[in-house]
Point group: C2
Chain length 287, copies 2
Amino acid sequence: MKVHLDCFPCFLKQVVIAVRLGTNDEVLRERVIRSALKEIELSDTGKTPAHSTTFIHRRIREMLGGDPFSAIKSEYNRKALAMYGGLRESVLSSPDPLFTATRLAIAGNIIDFGIFTSVDIEGTVSRALAEPFAVDDYRDFMRAVGNAGDVLYLLDNAGEIVFDRLLIETLLSMGKRVTAVVKGAPVLNDATMKDAREAGITGLCEVIDNGSDCVGTILYMTSPEFNRCFREAGLVISKGQGNFETLMNERKERMFFLFQAKCDVVSRELGLPLGAMLLKRGEAAAR
Amino acid sequence: MKVHLDCFPCFLKQVVIAVRLGTNDEVLRERVIRSALKEIELSDTGKTPAHSTTFIHRRIREMLGGDPFSAIKSEYNRKALAMYGGLRESVLSSPDPLFTATRLAIAGNIIDFGIFTSVDIEGTVSRALAEPFAVDDYRDFMRAVGNAGDVLYLLDNAGEIVFDRLLIETLLSMGKRVTAVVKGAPVLNDATMKDAREAGITGLCEVIDNGSDCVGTILYMTSPEFNRCFREAGLVISKGQGNFETLMNERKERMFFLFQAKCDVVSRELGLPLGAMLLKRGEAAAR
């Protein structure tokens, strides 16, 4: 997945969202936007959008002197935690807890205020539990989980990770060894170790960081330790569009992508409507 | 009305629309976008968005070696002309032809593919004829038309000008001397002399150009001849958001703005919902 012409205005929209969250100083906001324009100009259309946004958001954080998403990330962790009890109930009472937890994990991917400014979590949860998915490799997924001893779980956004916690708990209850992965440093609304702690994941399973502040998972920018885990994992669960963009050609049939198509470019590339939910096995050839 | 943070992504969106219309060469498209980013960076937030987009679209035309909107403008003129007979019927059969023609002229303002990529003309016409306007100074307008000997009519977009033709014809039938104004050179989808000819306006009344390639009407960039007409006109009808942005503080109670609030920034500034239709007298103090 490469940078598309439509990505350029979207990059800039993300910048505006970030500066609004990061400072009330109108002069500084404007200065960051102008500086980000220079960074957008350098976007490499031979690479993924995640590459561009990585550099753009680095510049934003540098200029703001901190992470503009810090407060809103904690807020979304809290909001999602308030839903946790009820959601856990639906998983435990489900005839197929893995199915329900997987669907909820995909529903949670709606919490992505880096792109959207408002989210309808409850509506998305109902939709995820009731409607068929655009791409649904659940049978393959179920089989792969059954066969795997260990699962590497690439987390995506703060808030969303409370939904991932349900799936991680389900995998643990099935006797799987789960390693959850967060970002090595803040970028956009992506989960870091602090978010994993806030969401109660650090007490459940091993949580490692990928040593990187990249959007998605740009392997050559992640740590050697993470790379080793990634190569060796029996099964990789990849959450979110950023991880899909950057990992869609990796690890083949041992990868499962759980996400929603949240932008025109990605949904068009997949031939799916905007908002489509996907549980997608890596690489079509493996089907 | 000044450049707002939200204008920046919108500027870039307009650039993407323009390059898509202007060339099929992906490499050139990308080059123009990168160059436009430099121009966007220079946006003066102390001036109107129309100032910025004027410079941005100049650069786009220079790099593409022509007007990217040329073909689509003629297409929209043709589409609107196909509706002309029926619309003229509604004006002539109306108990108040000035009212109906005025509303249709405002409905026609939906044809603005510089911002939107698809438009629902029929739906907008029904809405304009049936629903109350967000701002409706029609009584003042009717009185001002009654008192005016001559009317200066600032046209906005290609296609839309067929709707303006109905109002111009109505004004002429009331014995008014009408001078219609087009842009001096192509910019966005704005009407030029060629469009006035295509829409059949040149045969009806005097049509002059404003000597400028600016979005809206930036007075100091227009010709001395146009400036004289503007200062001396008994009544000025100003079509579209661009003209409103750039002229809202001019000519006071002799100005009437006919337009739709087509972006978040303008509708927020006016305290009206997006898509609101307005027939607005210049300057609140004149009410």
